[in-house]
């Protein structure tokens, strides 16, 4: 059972206490005496104050700045960056600084991008050679690199925030000790850290904090991988069959010149898109 579960149980017991106070106030109300009302109100207010005072790790939510537990804090701090990383890296073919790319601008983007070749041959009449067969792993590493600094900041911020609220904090593992995994329907940031928060004698421990961001990049990247693989074998990928079978995805193929294509895979639900280039079986005009 996770430590989080223990926190839930703690809330539950406090709420039970609150209910009993409320029931007392109802009895007083039935007496219909204003004084009693006032006393009951005071008791209620006092009860609420006591509740929050002894509640331990509960922190008032101010401006969305802090959250009630480390996982939530991390989540709200880093999930936007993870989404941003996925978006930026995806439209470059899984590599922000590709070594093998075509510089191209799509009107919708409004700027030029270096779009990575996932499958490439410099020769004509030949099928391409897959350049990134481990695209899924590469993407995970790229996203990790992209958010690394922000993750450190968030983690530090989180600790600072709890410190400022009087918590004693114990952590294990370094700030770099996290991984990003593309999984079905989501991107998961997994830390290998353990955070212990102690206040007023009560200790909670969070292990292996996770941040989950809804995303279809996993499915999109596997599709890109498949397209590159088929281009290397057949110089072609049959996209119509794919999008009919999986209508939540669309695949656009932009032909730049003979053999050079830019594929854009898009998920209609999340509007995530992945762009990459292929140069395969090029036939130079005339010869």
């Amino acid at each position: 059972m996770s430590k989080k579960g223990r926190i839930v149980a703690f809330y539950s017991s406090k709420k039970t206490g609150l209910s009993s106070i409320a029931s007392v106030s109802l009895k007083n109300k039935r007496k219909g005496q204003i004084t009693i009302f006032i006393i009951a109100g005071m008791l209620l207010v006092a009860g609420i104050l006591i509740f929050f005072l002894f509640r331990g790790g509960v922190i008032p939510e101010i401006g969305g700045k802090t959250e009630s537990n480390p996982a939530s804090f991390l989540d709200s701090c880093i999930d936007g960056k993870i989404s941003e990383a996925g978006k930026e890296i995806s439209i470059s073919g899984g590599d922000l600084n590709p070594e093998l790319y075509i510089n191209f601008m799509f009107t919708d983007d409004g700027f030029f991008k270096n779009i990575s070749y996932l499958c490439y041959t410099q020769n004509n009449f030949r099928p391409c050679v897959v350049q990134k067969p481990t695209l899924l792993l590469d993407m995970q590493n790229e996203i990790k690199d992209y958010i690394s600094e922000d993750f450190k900041s968030c983690f530090s911020e989180m600790l600072k925030d709890y410190q400022s609220q009087g918590f004693y904090i114990g952590t294990s593992s370094g700030l770099d000790d996290f991984d990003v995994e593309l999984e079905p329907r989501r991107i998961t940031l997994k830390t290998n850290s353990e955070v212990t928060l102690t206040k007023s004698g009560e200790t909670t421990t969070e292990e292996d904090l996770k941040v989950i961001v809804p995303s279809r990049l996993y499915e999109i990247v596997l599709t890109a991988n498949e397209i590159a693989s088929q281009e290397s074998q057949f110089c072609y990928f049959e996209s119509t069959g794919f999008v009919l079978a999986y209508p939540e995805f669309s695949i656009d193929k932009f032909i730049v010149e003979s053999g050079v294509k830019i594929y854009t895979i898009m998920n209609d639900g999340t509007e995530e898109k992945f762009r990459f280039a292929v140069r395969s079986c090029a036939v130079p005009p005339g010869f």
């Binding site: 996770s2 989080k4 579960g5 839930v8 939510e61 401006g63 969305g64 700045k65 709200s76 590709p98 093998l100 790319y101 510089n103 191209f104 601008m105 799509f106 009107t107 700027f111 030029f112 070749y117 041959t121 410099q122 020769n123 009449f125 030949r126 050679v129 897959v130 350049q131 990134k132 067969p133 481990t134 899924l136 792993l137 079905p184 329907r185 989501r186 989950i212 596997l222 498949e226 693989s229 088929q230 074998q233 110089c235 072609y236 996209s239 119509t240 069959g241 999008v243 009919l244 209508p247 932009f254 032909i255 730049v256 010149e257 003979s258 053999g259 036939v283 005009p285 005339g286 010869f287």
Partner: protein, 1341 residues
């Protein structure tokens, strides 16, 4: 005696010779043909003036291997000279791995890594295998080195042969996906390896629900038999949960409803328990058709007509939809129709586009692919007719979207196949007399370049090379082209066949175009002869008409040659896809050497205007290229096949007619010599006898070299021996022969042929024979002498008069690369941009005119412009200024301009923002800098449009302040060149790379005087603030930090009351006063750490003012805002709350919120639907929710709800094992993705419990004449009076005590009988022995 003996043997020899000569003479007439042929051959072997580059056999071998694949498939790359660059191959596009490079590239340092001497495929590191990631999460064809360096596991097999990569069907919830077992495991689905195709998998996902499953508590679930078995439910195959029998007998309470739901793209009715019923049909509501709610029934309504076309009116009333047939179920708001019932309707996924040719709307079904051409295609009327610039287009209809792909310089051709199919599954493909057609198409590699490799179509002896002809015909992208201009005496004299591309490709390389086109350059040699007129001293008189190849003077020659020329590619006189063209052939001639005369007629060039019709698609609207049937492996013809036959090649002399150009081209394929061609001609013309004699003549004459007319003399000698038939001695024959040879020699030397040549041979032979006879005769022979002298006279006359002399005059056809029309205008080029259907490409653009050029080719929106070549740099002029009161002044066109501000001194205000444009008189790319650079390339900055070519170039000047620099005592050139008077240097490069030699200078000055302008909040791009102005903050937020960015360093304050003077404002912001802007030319001001902005629910307003120049000690010089900047924030007034969460199991709902719910079932696996409902927040409860398993018996993770972004969030089909669960749910309402949202969380616990026990009888009693029982759960009980019933009986073969399933059971009370009772529950759990043995009156009173 000796003499006599000699004479006898000599007579014998002479007799034989005489006999031989008789045979020869009988063939003298046909020998005319030979004479002509011989002369012509002499012409044919004339010098080759134009050397055409030969096509490398190696090149062809690569091509052939490339095209050996059928359309798409494995490409065999055969080239023995490649090395492998393992890593770091320097290509045009960057650094690549595993690239085949040439030795030259290798030695030239184009590989940074290791170079191996083999092709990559033959090296252990770059050999292609399968890269497996995560035990099959991803599998791709890959070289070993790239796979392993990326962390994958490489297997030396193709993906299909790697067990981890084999795909099967993964059933995930109520859907399916064709993927590997590992992927399926990650997806949380059930893997079925036995379903081996994607289509079968999709079908499997759609056919999972099959009947009513009645479980505990008379709950009914519509599910599969297998699933029902897992739940130990009673399965009623093909029965709906609304079935009346289930209601009556099993107390199932599911009722018909008018609600619908979507399942597998179809719309289904749902019952009151939430189960699927039959497919939605508005005519089948319960009141109208009760029977439709009884059993699973096939739909009777249709949304497609017999031809497979969508009946739009039925989309709101019929849920019988199928995305593979072009319809899909969507929410009513997304549909074009209003559903009669429920919230869902059908949507038509077909695609409609305008066919400009037929001027009609064409509708295509979802998933259809078809070809669109821009004019005529392929082999039409002896021409490979694809017009210049035209591409083959593949159109696809994908889920309602029309998408187009295209060839590139026609490197591929579009082929399609239409199949009549039984789309509706009614077994009839021909409903109402019409078939349901479905079209598929593909862009297949154009094998045009492989076509020349099928040549020669004749062997060296001129015989048809049937294997090659068949190969050419078998290739659907090649055609046999016959050029048949001239015949003589029924025999072709200018005739040849060549294998040419059926769909010729375009060229973007001049040398390639010249090489390919030059292959169709030809010379036609005409033969002219001097006539008899010269005999009578009337001077040189030549026949006006060519004796051979006269028709080369006709237009037919130029037409046929141009057709051949066009067939080679974009060559010759032809048209582009817009019907504009140019003439790109030359017809020249060579005069006769003796007469000095030119050929009788010179044909005109066959004009491009004759081909305009080929650009008119309407005239060829039915053309199509057939796509082979899938099962066929060989290339199939496209309907227009074969024109080459065996017979037509038998009598021709192809190489004989081929002259410079094509002859040279073909000889590179045929071989350089064709010495026996004329032998064939001779054999043909001489007939059988002649053929026989020909062989003997060769023997006798010592095999004269071909092309040498002494050959003719060889046999003409024998004709002169006619006179010698009466000779008495071999000497006579010998001299006659010598005379004939001499005559032939003279004929050859003087170019005499035909009759005159024969006369010379005969006269020479006669003279030799008769005069020698006179000389050796023992008696006077005046007749012989007369013959001899007469013969000599004839010889002399022929020689002197030149009678029969021939000469060659040539007509040359030069096939040149096609040139785009000259004199084009912007309107011509613009046609490329205007076509709504086809995007403009470089090829299409440049084919429209000499001046048409594609700009911005590295974008998805290139533009075709008329760009006349010139070498003049673009002229830069002032454009406009997008800042109030600013203007350009003192412009010196092409040299400089000044920006004047509305300020008194005309300078730009400090920190002012000025956006202005400069214009160029032609499309150009520009760069700018604050200092003059020596060359354009060294300029560092781009205008806002980047590297796009444009005529308008936009620049921004902002964030400039001299005062600030001075204030901070910055003396260095923080901004180079900015010293009060600034200059901005601009140069532009046009499309021809003409660059301004000197920069265009934009002069401006920064206002050094007193800055009288306060902070400008309303900059052009709006005020940047965090949170942004107008943002909505989460419920409960009572304070927040905020930060705004302003256009100059300043000190700022804010207050809750409007129009408060700066000094009286209560709250101070912390502002950056650094000389360097913090963000994009702006300086930030934020709330102090300990003083966040206080907020209330609802709208919050604050008013901000700033005082600039924070470094200024003299307060009077500082500028303070008079007007407030209003900054608003909203705080959500209602908390986002998750009102309830519940699970639905078998149609029963269990609320989870803070309650521990126990759900009991009969199987180990439960199918659970999880639902959460939200309220409050920014959007009245609309939120995005996800769930997570905090506790579960095995590792379950969680996900975003499948249905979310609404008030209700549903996740159907969670397949859970029995055990304890704690599910947490988190929702947020951040729909504007600004990172600020309300978040709500809750959790719930439940227990899934398997009922493993049989029902227990908890009470037995007598009620009147009945024996009654009560069980602890719904059960069915039965009894028997036989004692062995407990051991061997079951409820099913006992006497029933229960109607359906119930906790109450009864039977009649019969004392004296023993009741052996067994019971089973709804999960078929039955006690092994009897549940109870009752003896009335004994253990039950």
């Amino acid at each position: 005696m000796k003499l006599v003996k000699t004479k006898k043997s000599g007579a014998l020899i002479l007799g034989i010779i005489a006999l031989f000569q008789i045979f020869v003479l009988t063939n003298a007439i046909p020998a005319e043909s030979y004479s002509i042929g011989e002369i012509e051959n002499a012409g044919r072997t004339a010098s080759v003036e134009k050397k055409v580059p030969k096509l490398s056999p190696k090149f062809f071998s690569i091509l052939v291997s490339f095209f050996a694949i059928k359309q798409i498939g494995f490409v065999s790359a055969i080239d023995e000279n490649f090395n492998c660059c393992i890593s770091g191959a320097e290509t045009e596009d960057g650094i690549a791995t595993c690239q085949d490079i040439t030795p030259t590239q290798a030695s030239g340092g184009e590989c940074q890594g290791q170079v191996l001497s083999s092709r990559c495929e033959e090296t252990s590191q770059c050999k292609t295998g399968t890269c497996v990631v995560g035990d099959g999460v991803s599998c791709s064809s890959s070289p070993k080195v790239t796979c392993e360096s990326g962390g994958g596991e490489w297997v030396d097999k193709t993906p299909a042969n790697v067990p981890e990569c084999r795909r099967g069907c993964c059933i995930i919830g109520s859907g399916s996906r064709f993927e590997t077992s590992t992927q399926c495991e990650i997806d949380g689905g059930n893997f079925n390896a036995g379903i081996g195709t994607e289509a079968a998998c999709i079908l499997a996902g759609q056919n999972l629900l099959q009947g009513a499953c009645v479980t505990t508590g008379n709950a009914c679930t519509f599910t599969t038999g297998i699933e029902c078995g897992r739940r130990s439910g009673s399965f009623f195959k093909g029965i709906l949960c609304t079935n009346s029998d289930l209601k009556e007998n099993l107390d199932v309470e599911c009722e018909a409803s008018t609600q619908t739901t979507i399942k597998d793209d179809k719309i289904y009715w749902i019952d009151s328990c939430g189960n699927l019923a039959n497919i939605y049909d508005a005519d089948k509501i319960y009141e109208k058709d009760k029977s439709y709610w009884e059993i699973v029934s096939p739909p009777t309504c249709k949304v497609l007509d017999s031809n497979g076309n969508v009946i739009k009116n039925n989309l709101g009333t019929c849920g019988n939809l199928d995305r593979f047939r072009g319809t899909i179920a969507v929410e009513a708001s997304e549909a074009d129709v209003i559903p009669a019932y429920g919230n869902f309707a059908g949507k038509d996924l077909s695609c409609t586009y305008k066919d400009s040719v037929k001027n009609i709307d064409i509708t295509k079904k979802n998933g259809e692919k078809w070809c669109i051409y821009e004019g005529s295609i392929g082999d039409i009327e002896g021409i490979s007719s694809d017009t210049v610039g035209s591409e083959h287009w593949l159109a696809r209809c994908e889920n309602g979207d029309l998408k187009l792909e295209h060839s590139n310089y026609r490197d591929s051709v579009c082929a399609q196949r239409t199949t009549v199919v039984d789309l509706n599954g009614d077994g009839d493909t021909n409903d109402n007399g019409e078939g349901e057609s479905f079209t598929t198409a593909s862009l297949v590699p154009n094998q045009a370049l492989a076509c020349p490799s099928f040549n020669p179509l004749q062997d060296k002896k001129g015989k048809a090379n049937q294997a090659n002809i068949d190969a050419c015909n078998a290739n659907p992208h090649c055609a046999v082209r016959n050029v048949d201009v001239q015949k003589h005496n029924g025999k072709p004299t200018f005739y040849f066949s060549v294998c040419v591309p059926r769909y010729p490709t375009g060229f973007d390389d001049d040398s390639a175009a010249q090489t390919m086109c030059a292959a169709a350059t030809q010379k036609c040699t005409q033969i002219y002869q001097k006539n008899i007129g010269s005999l009578w001293g009337s001077g040189s008189s030549w026949n006006d008409a060519a004796k051979i190849n006269s028709e080369c003077g006709n237009v037919e020659f130029s037409q046929k040659m141009n057709n051949l020329c066009v067939s080679m590619g974009d060559c010759g006189s032809y048209v582009n896809y817009e019907g504009q063209g140019s003439d790109n052939a030359q017809i020249t001639y060579e005069k006769g050497g003796k007469s000095g005369k030119k050929p009788e007629k010179i044909p005109a060039i066959f004009s491009w205007t004759n081909y305009v019709k080929y650009s008119d698609r309407s005239q060829f609207a039915n053309q199509i290229i057939s796509l082979p049937e899938p099962e066929e492996t060989s290339g199939e013809g496209d309907g227009s096949t074969n024109t080459g036959s065996t017979n037509q090649f038998e009598d021709i002399d192809p190489m004989g007619q081929l002259n410079e150009g094509f002859g040279e081209f073909l000889s590179s394929i045929f071989g350089n010599n064709n010495p026996t061609l004329r032998d064939i001609n001779i054999q043909n013309t001489l007939g059988i006898g002649g053929t026989t004699m020909w062989g003997i003549a060769q023997f006798w004459s010592g095999v004269a070299p071909i092309g040498d007319s002494s050959y003719l003399a060889g046999y003409q000698t024998y004709t002169t021996e006619l006179a010698a038939n009466t000779a008495k001695a071999g000497i006579v024959t010998l001299f006659a022969t010598i005379g004939a040879y001499a005559g032939a020699y003279i004929a050859q030397q003087l170019g005499i042929s035909g009759g005159p040549a024969q006369m010379l041979v005969l006269a020479g032979g006669t003279a030799g024979g008769t005069l020698s006879y006179v000389y050796i005769a023992t008696t006077s022979s005046p007749w012989a002498l007369g013959f001899g002298i007469g013969a000599l006279v004839i010889v002399g006359w022929i020689i002197i008069s030149g009678f029969g002399t021939t000469e060659k005059r040539k007509i040359n056809f030069a096939c040149l690369p096609w040139e785009a029309p000259a004199g084009t205008t912007e309107a011509d080029c613009n046609k490329c941009n205007e076509n709504e259907l086809f995007k403009c490409t470089k090829y299409r653009c440049e084919s429209l005119g000499q001046t048409c050029q594609l700009l911005n080719g590295n974008t998805d929106n290139p533009i075709c412009k008329s760009v006349q070549y010139e070498n003049v740099a673009p002229v830069i002029t002032a454009g406009s200024i997008n800042a109030t009161g600013y203007a350009f002044a003192d412009e010196d066109v092409g040299k400089s301009v000044e920006i004047e501000s509305p300020e008194e001194n005309g300078c730009i205000l400090e920190f002012g923002s000025v956006r202005f444009t400069l214009k160029t008189d032609e499309y150009a790319q520009c760069k700018w800098d604050f200092v003059e650079r020596d060359v354009y390339e060294n300029m560092e900055n781009l205008p806002l449009e980047g590297t796009d070519s444009s005529k308008n170039h936009t620049f921004d000047l902002n964030g400039l302040s001299l005062g600030m620099l001075n204030a901070f005592d910055i003396t260095e050139d923080v901004i180079l060149g900015l010293h009060g008077d600034g200059k901005l240097y601009v140069r532009c490069s046009d499309v021809h790379n003409n660059i301004n030699p000197t920069s265009y200078i934009v002069n401006f000055c920064i206002n050094e005087g007193p800055d009288t302008t306060p902070v400008n909040f309303d900059s052009q791009t709006g005020v940047l603030a965090i949170p942004k102005n107008g943002a909505t903050l989460p419920y409960g937020t009572n304070s927040t930090p905020f930060k705004i960015f302003i256009n100059e360093p300043a000190e700022c304050k804010y207050d809750g009351k409007p129009s408060t003077s700066y000094d009286l404002m209560n709250n101070t912001l912390e502002c950056s006063t650094s000389p360097t802007p913090e963000l994009l030319g702006r300086w930030g001001c934020e709330t102090p750490l300990d003083n966040d902005l206080s907020l209330n629910p609802g709208e919050n307003k604050i008013y901000i003012k700033c005082k600039d120049k924070p470094w200024e000690t003299n307060e009077s010089k500082r500028n303070t805002n008079v007007d407030d900047y209003l900054y608003k924030l909203f705080v959500t007034e209602d908390k986002l709350e998750i009102g309830s969460i519940y699970i639905t199991v078998g149609g029963s709902r269990f609320d989870l919120t803070n309650n521990y719910t126990k759900v009991t079932g009969g199987v180990n696996q439960f199918s659970i639907d999880l639902t959460a409902q939200t309220s409050g927040g920014n959007e009245n409860g609309k939120a995005e929710c996800s769930y997570k398993f905090e506790q579960s018996p095995i590792l379950y993770t969680g996900d975003r709800f499948f249905e979310t972004n609404a008030n209700t969030h549903k996740q159907k089909g969670l397949n859970l094992l029995n055990g304890n669960y704690n599910i947490s749910i988190k929702c947020n309402d951040d729909f504007d993705n600004d990172g600020i949202s309300n978040v709500a969380e809750t959790s719930g616990t439940f227990n899934l419990n398997v009922d493993m026990s049989p029902p227990l009888i908890v009470r037995t009693y007598r009620d009147g004449n009945s024996l009654k029982l009560k069980t602890d759960e719904s059960a069915k009980c039965a009894y028997s009076n036989q004692p062995n019933y407990c051991q061997s009986g079951s409820v099913s073969n006992g006497t029933s005590m229960t109607s359906g399933f119930s906790t109450d059971h009864s039977t009649s009370w019969n004392p004296g009988q023993i009741y052996y009772i067994k019971c089973k529950d709804i999960y078929d759990r039955e006690s092994q022995l009897c549940a109870r043995i009752i003896i009335p009156g004994v253990n039950v009173e």
